[in-house]
């Protein structure tokens, strides 16, 4: 029974019901091929939502993920143009993404600057760097090699590689978060930073690693994004960071840190993906999408608050933090 009460189960149910309603009028939407498409379409959102979720667990937020994705994607495209072999590019985007995340992490860890300020700043800096690097030029499909573009679309066991990467990442981080010391530290730091200190966990360092993971995932997604859409420019994935935060909130990741599961983040992303893909099918203008995801965020956060039980009164600020 507890399974049914869990947030993830409810969200999964909500997704199934909405897919069911759509299917009654538009059976083509639930054809396996189309569902696989929806999943594949949502893969970048899921990958970023995993990283964002880990950052949010540690009481931080990473608004620079979309800019990180765009910057590493552009670097991948430029490296491809310079004739760098694909495996090297893959390593480079993960490292570069991780370094960009580490910049956020160091500022939060060593200087104690609130993460929202840090990542607001790095968000504009990373995106601006693309412009400075390219002077606003685009890298188009014909400037990319076939191998570079083919990898995410390669079909393996009925699903494109991009979907498999998302699935593998989810499984890896499901293990990391629940079965490793670092994973538990993420929860401990967000749940109660002071208790975490007394338990021997370095709060700042844990937050640093959360940012590195978020950055590395964003970097890797940067390659996938640019290769799949076969174009790289300054405004790639503009505003995507909000979708990513939305996926986490809808997935029940507590914005105050310390609570949430990777399955929640995944389902939150799928929920947004289903909406995005269903709108054109049911004949609603895509202009509705923004308002719908906004409403979904507000409903989700209201629902989260109603579920979490009230906490005791905290009198002293130092003790409360």
């Amino acid at each position: 029974m507890t399974v049914l009460k869990s947030r993830e189960a409810l969200l999964a149910l909500a997704i199934l019901v909405s897919v069911g309603i759509i299917a009654m009028r538009f059976p083509a939407f639930v054809a396996p091929g189309n569902l696989a498409n929806v999943f594949n379409d949502t893969a970048p959102l899921m990958l970023l939502a995993i990283g964002q979720m880990i950052v949010i667990l540690t009481k931080c937020i990473d608004l620079s993920v979309a800019a990180n994705l765009a910057l590493t994607g552009m670097v991948a495209a430029l490296m491809n143009g310079a004739g760098v072999p694909l495996p090297l590019i893959l390593c480079a985007v993960i490292v570069l993404g991780g370094v960009l995340g580490a910049v956020n992490g160091v500022l939060v860890w060593k200087l104690g600057i609130p993460s929202i300020v840090v990542t607001l700043g790095t968000m504009t800096i990373y995106r601006g760097t693309i412009f400075i690097m390219t002077e606003g030029k685009w890298v188009n499909a014909h400037e990319m090699t076939e191998g570079f573009k083919a990898l995410p679309r390669l079909v393996f066991l009925g699903l494109p590689v991009m979907s498999w990467i998302a699935i593998a990442t989810i499984l890896i981080f499901a293990v990391v978060l629940t079965r490793t010391a670092l994973g538990r530290a993420f929860y401990a730091v967000g749940g109660n930073p002071h208790a975490a200190v007394y338990a021997g966990i370095d709060v700042g360092r844990t937050q640093f690693w959360a940012f590195v993971i978020s950055g590395a995932l964003a970097g890797f997604t940067g390659y996938l994004w640019v290769a799949r859409y076969a174009v790289a420019y300054v405004d790639v994935a503009g505003g995507f960071e909000l979708d990513v935060v939305a996926a986490c909130v809808i997935g029940g990741i507590a914005i105050a840190g310390g609570a949430g599961s990777i399955w929640g983040a995944m389902l939150g992303a799928i929920f947004l993906g289903v909406i995005k893909n269903a709108l054109p099918v049911v004949g609603i203008s895509p202009f509705w999408q923004m308002a719908i995801s906004g409403t979904a965020i507000i409903l989700a956060v209201a629902f989260n608050a109603a579920q979490s039980r009230p906490k005791g009164r905290l009198i002293l600020r130092e003790a409360a933090q």
Binding site: L107, L111, G121, T124, I132, L242, S285, I297, I298
Partner: protein, 326 residues
């Protein structure tokens, strides 16, 4: 974040003069003067009354929102939906304009839409006790989303000529209507935050909401009013901006929420709440406006400017912390 350090109780306070000299506002003033002098040397076109007057448009609208946002952030909340409120208010103004409304109605609808949006945020945060950062990320999407539903890829044009006064009119010589509005609002917000019991309540809530509650402050009511204020100020900014541009698109004022927050933080307001001043925000607004204008005179693209502002945002917080050896 480490265990709380013991409070250091000083036995002698510095003289008011020394404190003023070391304050954030003084640093900002020095930076503002430096930017001003730098611009004068970099471009021969900078030191011209009309050019300087043009430069004020870079910050007046954003600064109006920043005053209300400063109070909100001092109280420990944040509103990321302000730019979307502008979009929705501008769309509402466009709707009544096409229905044939006159200028007073258009202005009232713009400010009223801001008020309603602020009330929605205020209800969700103060009434339902939801975290403001998530709520306003949601309403940010919702408000602009409604503007997109109404307008799609269209635009409202053809505002009446008299409407242009709010964004393009001059009160006297080079003093624009917006600049006058900016000064009036600066004075009002200064008085409210620094010279009224409401302002004290805002600081009290930002420092310790629970203690404020036990001191008899109606915490949730104050929070609600603060969200109303940011909503109204966004409505006012929407009137000015729409009037200045002469048209409404759903993408109007994209990214302004970040610039407004940058302005507030640069002005020395603690993003975690509890401290900050209106004079600081005024100086930060002027600095940002002058830097933007100076870059513009040097033909630096806007996106490079945003890189600079992003670095500035991190830098102004990082440098003092580095110097203190935190």
């Amino acid at each position: 974040m480490t265990a709380p350090a013991p409070r250091i109780v000083v036995d002698r306070l510095h003289s008011p003069f020394r404190r003023a000299l070391r304050s954030w506002e003084t640093i900002l003033l020095v930076v503002a003067v430096a930017v001003f002098i730098g611009n004068t040397f970099l471009s021969p076109y900078f030191l011209n009354a009309w050019n300087l007057s043009d430069a004020t448009f870079n910050f007046t609208e954003k600064a109006m929102i920043a005053f209300a946002m400063a109070m909100l952030i001092v109280a420990g909340e944040i509103d990321l939906s302000v730019a979307s409120i502008i979009a929705l208010a501008s769309t509402a103004m466009g709707l009544v304009m096409t229905a044939g409304a006159g200028v007073p109605v258009i202005v009232l609808v713009g400010i009223g839409t801001g008020l309603i949006c602020g009330a929605v945020n205020g209800f969700l945060v103060a009434g339902m006790g939801l975290p403001s950062i998530v709520v306003t990320i949601g309403t940010m999407s919702l408000f602009r989303g409604i503007a997109f539903i109404v307008l799609g890829d269209q635009a409202f044009n053809g505002y009446p000529p008299e409407f242009a006064f709010f964004g393009q009119g001059y009160v006297w010589w080079v003093i624009s209507f917006e600049l006058v509005l900016f000064i009036i609002f600066a004075l009002i917000y200064w008085a409210v935050l620094h010279r009224s019991t409401f302002g004290r309540a805002v600081y009290a809530i930002g420092n310790n909401a629970t203690a404020a509650q036990f001191s008899g402050i109606r915490v949730q009511r104050v929070r609600f009013i603060l969200f109303l204020l940011t909503g109204v100020m966004s409505g006012v900014a929407a009137v000015c901006l729409t009037s200045r541009l002469g048209s409404t698109r759903p993408s109007i004022a994209t990214g302004w929420e970040l610039e407004v927050v940058t302005m507030v933080v640069l002005g020395g307001v603690n993003i975690l709440g509890g401290s900050g001043t209106i004079p600081g925000v005024v100086l930060a607004a002027i600095i940002m406006g002058m830097v933007t204008f100076g870059f513009g005179l040097l033909n630096v693209p806007g996106i490079v400017m945003s890189v600079f502002l992003g670095a500035l945002l991190i830098g102004v917080i990082a440098v003092p912390r580095l110097l203190r050896g935190k």
